[in-house]
Symmetry: C3
Subunit: 246 residues, 3 copies
């Protein structure tokens, strides 16, 4: 990857000990996190990374969208920060003195690969915990965990690396959220629930206490889960039924 | 409208620069908002307005109700504040020096008419935002918006004039809530949802990301909306189905 | 009941004016409450009470559980505090100078009996209200009420003795929660709902405004209640249907 001069200048000017590169460029995840993470005063966001070797081309004229504010990446910039396009971003970030990263990509397996790549290259994976998130006593939060506004992690619950708990979602006491899970907004999980690696729980789902959700499974929006869910399935409805094996 | 002497006296004594008249008199909306709005110390509630030309007659002996505390309006008073009964309340409020109003009426079209009437008569329409409501970065809150306790308005979400977000409801990033919408308690909306003018989303409904709800539509309590909803329909269930056109 | 010497020593050392005995020993209720109640600095937790005459024997090798931290009671101890095994615990607690108790047992009728026993023996029944619980204006909270993290009790709502509102549950304005009710996490109740004595509302249920739930009834997880529920039934589904009379 060759950084163009503008990018170099921007990066050179700004990198500090607490500088972080956010891997990801989507407005609803990287963009949203950026909006509050820098304000907290703990980290400086040095740049975003598009972890592919092509610059992004988003034709936003085709996108139906009501909101009047929405940031799309351009060739070398996202949200007034430099955007690096490279699948092998580690050497470039190192060259500019950036030692911390946060992986925010939506695709779970891609997220895992990026975390692995960061780890291999000795980057520090940070957590992004919104000030209104509530983490109860003895909860365990591993690395590269994102807790959005008002996320709740109960007493002795555990959130493993690469998992994202979105706004207002509630992971009650002794729940275990394994690696690279996404919990969408407004999900409610009673106590002692486990969510397996690479699973997704969509918006507003409800999971009864002691339920075990397998790996690689998907819980549809608004589902109510009252029985264990195996690996590699999609479950929807009330009560949740398997509608697909994958 | 002729104000009786008692009302005049009460108003005369109390009106200040920050005085507000609350249009509406229902305990669950106007009454509830009054209970915290004045305490915040920003506004003084000068009076309530019943925007019809008849005094209210509520026979509370007929109402089944378990709660031991409930305020009903009397002829000229609600919650120990003067109550004005008039469809043309603007001249009276002006006479007493009240320049700010908050329209709280439950009926959406009636709410719209009252907001229009206030605007025409150069009243300032205030917002009522509970201290525990959370408004994220770059969110846009227009005029006469009510955010009850723990309402959540996400990153770059927009709430247009006359809309009410009730307790604990969550409007996630880039959602757009158009004019004179009511969102009941405990609703969860993922990102990029639009709710059209004069629509109502009832208690505890869940709306998937990117869904568009039309104008004048009603989403029943506890519904899960995974497809767009047209104008002028009532939708209920999981997943939500149209049960009525209106 | 004969206290063994170790127990006596522990109790003798620690009892203060603000000491409380927690009746109950389950990790998800007594254990969880202990984790934040003592930290609040209002009460000192002197001991737990297993209100039966046998010491507990829990074979935790048989329990499938993912969480890495989980406290089980031993013969005379729970969470590094003394554990008393006695159905008639009042004289022992009195002997050691403990005057306050909190009853946390999961079984509703058993909870009621323990509250009655505490009352008869002139113990003070305390409330446990997490600092993030939100109690709105004019709400009425009786005795031995537990409000977990982020529980919400609306304007003029009422919670009677022995009731537990679990994390994130929302009891809106003018709701009445009668005696010895359990509201699981993430429940949403609109205004003017009544829940009868000894009823349980399971995780993530939604209850429409003005609904009356009878005594001794059970609302299944994720149910949506849009009609009144009689006494002594179990209701599940969307909309909730009676599946059992008891």
């Amino acid at each position: 990857m060759v950084l163009d001069r503008k990018l170099k200048t921007l990066l050179n000017m700004k990198v500090q000990e607490n500088s972080v590169a956010i891997v990801g460029w989507e407005e609803g995840s990287a963009g949203q996190i950026h909006s509050w993470l820098e304000k907290m005063g703990i980290y400086h966001i040095a740049c975003f990374v598009n972890p592919t070797d092509k610059a992004l081309r988003i034709d936003n004229r085709k996108i139906r969208r009501e909101a009047s504010q929405f940031s799309y990446p351009t060739k070398n910039s996202f949200k007034d920060k430099p955007l690096l396009n490279s699948s092998k971003w580690a050497p470039s970030l190192k060259e500019y003195g950036i030692k911390k990263v946060l992986i925010t990509t939506d695709d779970l397996h891609h997220r895992f690969k990026q975390i692995h790549y960061a780890d291999e290259n000795d980057f520090e994976l940070i957590n992004a915990v919104h000030p209104t998130a509530l983490v109860m006593e003895d909860a365990i939060i591993k690395k590269n965990v994102i807790l959005n506004a008002r996320a709740f992690v109960g007493y002795r619950a555990e959130v493993f690396s690469g998992s994202i708990i979105d706004s207002g979602s509630q992971i009650d006491h002794h729940c275990v959220i394994k690696y690279c899970v996404t919990i969408d907004p407004g999900v409610v999980m009673a106590g002692n629930v486990t969510i397996g690696d690479f699973s997704t729980v969509h918006t507003g789902s409800v999971i009864k206490n002691r339920i075990q959700i397998g790996n690689n499974s998907i819980i549809g929006a608004g589902s109510v889960i009252v029985e264990d869910v195996p690996n590699n399935v999609t479950v929807v409805g009330v009560p949740g039924k398997i509608i697909r094996h994958h």
